[in-house]
């Protein structure tokens, strides 16, 4: 009886709108989204804000923030504008984060859906493949992959996608295994629908909520991985990123700590925002939780 009352309450509006409303009722989610929108706008408009190459030397080295109003966040050991680096670096972080996530999620969905939907030997084989990737230390693998290929944005993106897809694949497989037993899937088979239609049109939309939640966390970890690579000097040498900014100034950590702190804070805030959005999505997309609020 309690279930009927809750379903009736939920039934008053359609599913996705309810989730959107639940999401924006969460103040942390609103704050995190606002921050990410801000970062995205900054990244998109970087060429307008700082038309000059952020790698060019424009000022006296080691200007502290506030010392010269022209260079709001100061300059680094080579006299490059920190603010320009921060703005341009956001482009690399976001592009790699989102592209690596998109690629990783795509591979993960294809593998996970195939394994979970068909089961049997196909499943056995794909699960072994996932296990191989998951038992290898992922950052080490990433370092090796990037070292073999040229360190460019494309190869870093592919590398990060290759180490993150198994998480999504496992998740999708589990969802598909439970959803394929539902009567509506049996009905779809009984109506003569093909496998592709059943996988992508019938089952996948129902498996999306956990995938979406995990994706936001994957963007965050992709940003962290890119930063770590750049910090180690394995990033794209022709592009400035938050990680490479930290890496370049690690020798002057004691004398000019602001050079590591500023991009560090940018990374922390972005990753935190993405994780907060992940949590909020999890609550919002889970009707039982948001129904009780």
């Amino acid at each position: 009886m309690t279930t009927t009352t809750t379903t009736e309450v939920i039934a008053s509006s359609s599913g996705s709108w309810r989730a959107v409303r639940a999401f924006f009722r969460n103040p942390a989610a609103v704050l995190a989204t606002a921050f990410l929108v801000f970062v995205t706008i900054v990244a998109l408009t970087a060429p307008l804000i700082y038309p000059e190459d952020p790698l060019s030397m424009v000022a006296r080295p080691f200007l502290w923030p506030g010392q010269n109003p022209k260079f709001l966040l100061g300059s680094d050991s080579l006299g490059r504008d920190v603010a320009a680096g921060l703005v341009w670096g956001s482009r690399i972080s976001l592009v790699i984060g989102i592209a690596a996530m998109a690629l990783g999620v795509t591979i993960g969905i294809v593998v996970g859906a195939t394994a979970g939907y068909f089961g049997g030997r196909i499943d056995d084989a794909l699960v072994r493949l996932v296990e191989i990737f998951q038992t290898t230390p992922s950052f080490l693998m990433l370092v090796v992959l990037v070292a073999i290929a040229e360190p460019r944005v494309e190869s870093i993106t592919v590398g990060i996608a290759l180490v993150t897809w198994p998480t999504i694949a496992r998740l999708v497989r589990a969802e598909f295994r439970s959803l394929r037993e539902k009567d509506f899937v049996t009905a779809a088979r009984g109506l003569g629908y093909g496998h592709l239609r059943i996988i992508f049109i019938e089952i996948l939309p129902n498996a999306l909520p956990p995938i979406i939640v995990t994706s936001s966390v994957i963007v965050a970890s992709a940003i962290l991985m890119e930063s770590a690579l750049s910090f180690m000097g394995l990033g794209d040498p022709n592009r400035i990123s938050w990680g490479s900014m930290i890496g370049a100034s690690r020798e002057t950590l004691r004398t000019a700590w602001y050079l590591t702190a500023i991009p560090g804070i940018a990374i922390v805030l972005t990753v935190l925002a993405l994780n907060m959005i992940g949590d909020a999505l999890n609550d919002a997309l889970n009707p039982r939780l948001s129904g009780e609020r």
Binding site: M1, T2, T5
Partner: protein, 334 residues
């Protein structure tokens, strides 16, 4: 009816943020009696049981009403006192015996736990008593079964274990919430048969929540019909089935295919009750009005209360009551 009731629920209204699934509901259970509470899902019958046990979900609030058990107001008891009532004086069993049992403990341990908690038995004597109880609920081979985990047992067996736990402290009232709905018909007959003999042997009263009018007819003394959180009709079981008065009860009996009736699809359609129970939401008058063939404008003003219409018989339908012979109110005694 002349005996002082064991359980007296009156004016019970349960409120949720989204509505009031139970409104101004009341009934009595005498000692040793079997009272069936009948209704479809959404009628509020399970919530009423949970309210009696004070186990309502947190979002629910008891807006009005009292529950008296052996003269004591249960809603006024402090929680530690209420905990002593639960399990020892009033016990409850549920529809789904799989989820009501803890999957990681043997059934013996779970029965023994009740005994140790309420009766203060030692581990050894609790185990002995658990085996006796399994025997009492007709579990074959209780010495072996006592060490089984719930997943090793069939649905019927699990419900027997639940019953053993419920009657472990010989409660005065057993509330059975759709105890056989999840079971097969031959197993259902066994479980109902068991509940009946336990009621007789242990001198319990039984509050049997069900949606099945056949069960009511076979096993209950008295029956209360609920619709959308309110009482619709109350009567002796045989009287209700033989001569239903409320349009909802009449509709239900006419709508159910019965084995003894010879109606076949080739000969005619079943009588339907149009619409569904959700039409009662927001209805200011009688909740059944949107589906009722006898609805009159006066039915829409206020929900009708249960009124005595015959000895031992209550009805919440003024249009039908008006067609019955007037009764001497003094002879009804309520």
């Amino acid at each position: 009816m002349s005996k002082a009731p064991l359980l007296d629920v009156s004016g019970l209204t349960i409120a949720f943020p989204g509505g009031t699934p139970v409104a101004d509901f009341g009934f009595r259970v005498a000692a040793g009696e079997t009272v069936a509470v009948v209704g479809e899902s959404g009628s509020g019958k399970s919530l009423t049981a949970l309210a009696i046990m004070r186990l309502l979900p947190r979002t629910a609030r008891i807006a009005t009403g009292t529950v008296r058990f052996q003269g004591r107001d249960l809603f006024a008891l402090p929680e530690p006192e209420m905990r002593k009532v639960r399990g020892r004086e009033i016990a409850m069993i549920f529809q789904e015996p799989m989820t009501s049992l803890n999957p990681v403990l043997t059934v013996g341990k779970q029965i023994a736990e009740v005994l140790r908690l309420h009766e203060g038995l030692s581990a050894e004597s609790a185990r002995k008593r658990a085996i006796e109880l399994l025997d009492l609920v007709r579990v074959a081979d209780p010495h072996r079964r006592v060490d089984d985990f719930p997943h090793r047992l069939s649905g019927g067996m699990r419900q027997r274990v639940m019953i053993a736990m419920a009657v472990a402290c010989t409660p005065k009232l057993l509330i059975a919430d759709e105890p056989t709905t999840a079971l097969d018909v031959t197993i259902q007959a066994q479980v109902l048969d068991l509940l009946e003999s336990l009621r007789r042997d242990l001198g319990m009263a039984l509050m049997l929540i069900t949606h099945d009018l056949g069960i009511v007819g076979q096993w209950a003394d008295r029956v209360v019909v609920m619709y959308a959180g309110r009482g619709a009709e109350e009567a002796e079981a045989a009287a209700l089935l033989g001569d239903p008065l409320h349009p909802y009860t009449r509709g239900l009996l006419a709508a159910s295919p019965r084995l003894d009736a010879s109606l076949h699809y080739t000969a005619g359609t079943l009588r339907e009750i149009p619409g569904s129970i959700s039409s009662a939401i927001g209805e200011p008058g009688c909740p059944f009005v949107p589906r009722c063939p006898l609805a009159q404008p006066s039915c829409r003003t206020a929900p009708p209360p249960l009124m005595p219409v015959r000895p031992g018989r209550l009805l919440a339908c003024p249009p039908v009551a008006a067609t019955l012979e007037p009764i001497d109110a003094a002879a009804v005694g309520r």
